[in-house]
């Protein structure tokens, strides 16, 4: 499971960075979204990988070792919300830039 997750994060971050460096604004937005996914998975993995362990204390008795760490899950939730909002804002800026400059090149002009 660890290898699969690591590969996932690697592929997402790699593709994200490649797209981020492309000259078209839409590619940059998709690249940022892929990077955000990779970062979110990474934060999640920092709470250690467990399957079938609840993050919220139930009524059953037991030690904390039976539970998953809830903090990274809360952090991921916050990061997703903020990332979503800023991506939406970036899309608006992208459309405005396309409308004002007449090109979708990130520098506003074709070389």
């Amino acid at each position: 499971m660890a290898l699969l997750l690591a590969a996932c994060i690697g592929i997402l971050a790699g593709s994200g960075v490649w797209l981020l460096l492309r000259p078209r604004t839409y590619q940059v937005v998709i690249g940022l979204s892929l990077c955000a996914l990779a970062v979110n998975l990474f934060i999640f993995s920092m709470g250690r990988l467990r399957s079938g362990a609840p993050p919220v204390l139930g009524s059953t008795t037991g030690t904390l070792a039976d539970y998953a760490d809830p903090v990274p899950q809360a952090l991921v939730l916050t990061a997703i919300v903020i990332g979503f909002a800023t991506t939406a804002l970036l899309l608006v800026v992208l459309l405005a830039a396309r409308g004002l400059t007449g090109t979708d090149h990130v520098d506003g002009q074709e070389r």
Binding site: L20, V39, I43, L75, G83
Partner: protein
Amino acid sequence: MAGWAHHLIIAPVVLPLVAGALLAVYDERRQFLKGLINLFSTLANLAIAILLLQAADTDTPGVYLLGNWPAPFGIVLVLDRLSAMMILLTAVLATASLIFSMARWHTVGHHFHTLFQFLVMGVNGAFLTGDLFNLFVFFEVMLASSYGLLLHGSGPRRVQASLHYVVVNLTAAFFFLVGVALIYGVTGTLNMADLATRIPALTGENRILLEVGAAILAMAFLVKAAMWPLGFWLLSAYPAAAPPVAAIFAILSKVGLYVLLRGRPLLFGSEAGEAAGYGTTLLFAGGLATIAFGVVGVLASQAMTRIASFSLMISSGTVLAAIGLSDPQVTGGALFYLASSTLTISAFFLLIELIERGQNPGADLIAVTAEAMGAEPGEEDAASAGGMGSPGTMVLLGACFIACALLLIGLPPMSGFVAKLALLAALFAPAGEGATAGLSAANWAFIVLLLLSGVATLMTLSRVGIRAFWAPVDAVAPRVLAVEVAPVAALLLLTLVLAVKGGPVMRYMEETARSVLTPSSYIEDVLSAPRVPPAKAGLQ
């Protein structure tokens, strides 16, 4: 601090939040009312900041437990000398830039007042919080509002600059998140004081992972502080921003510096075991490189807004290099320099717009802006026709320009001189080592670059000043309103006050530097902060 005064700590966050939310309710036709609410909130914030500064001038920081949870579990707000000083600086800049914008700029786009309040909230929150993830949230509040404010006034140049600004800052936010996640994964806590107590116990690969996490985290702040080579975004963003926006943006790069100033001694101070002193060399070298880049940039620039942006980079670089030296005397001087240079650059951004109003480049920018907002071309002229356009205006603007130049160069009688003198004096007499040991190469490099930056600024500003004030034969004096000159003059007078009151201010800065570099009382007070006892239910 006891009683109601204790709750003042959270006021710099709650007040702008409430005011911003209230402002979002009114639509754009109620500009006057919106301006009034914003002005009221900003002035109240300034008053609170002054009260907080007085309250914070002790050795025990004020700790505010959010939700009454004890320290490592809940989020804490911490008010010490450093955060109180930064909050006051924010409040002063906010007041000046708001009053300036009231003349005209607040009407060239939508939701200026709302975004302005949220920006102040984010900056204040970032200065107050004692929790790494909460810092991320406030950082994002600040950045999200700054995206909106940078776009204020629209036009191709601003939209283009915003696109780059947003992408760079989103990428920096990913670094922030990865760094925070790594630190949490290794230590299991996000509270900064708790982190400081856990780091000395880390050894082997855990320590290496922590250092990697801290380095990645620091990337986010170094991008914000515009360290070379991470700061190129600043040169396209700040000159494109509307002048009052650029003036308040002068504090944003200080947020990055503040976190480095606070975090490096706290996490990697002398008590951090194997990790002690991590990152100092890089911060010092990066700071020097930033000053060098700023010097070259200042010499090569033609436009005044670019000169101001490069000056901002020089001031960032100076403070970064001082953080890297982590000497109490140098840090004290650097804090004085930080306060003085922030006020100066903010005033300079406002002043540039007034000077360039009579010249062409600024004029077409405003015409483009008006066009983008769908306003009639003639409307802008009618709006500003009420200002005075006498030769006296030129004299006043010229005097302000000379004051700005003296401050940026570091000549007496303004506070820029006191700041540079304090820095140089501290660099020439390193504390701790024997006086016979002589100066290290690092100190020499810093001294030389600091003096060079003054010379370069002197050359550039004389050239620009002559071109703007003396060379034009048939110059038309720009029409300038009194509310536009007043904030600039007030900021410059404040720097004069800083210089005249140099003794008490310098004492405050040195105390601040000492408590930042030896954070043991910060850690103790945060972790032992008492909870408020539960209220008695019912009548007794």
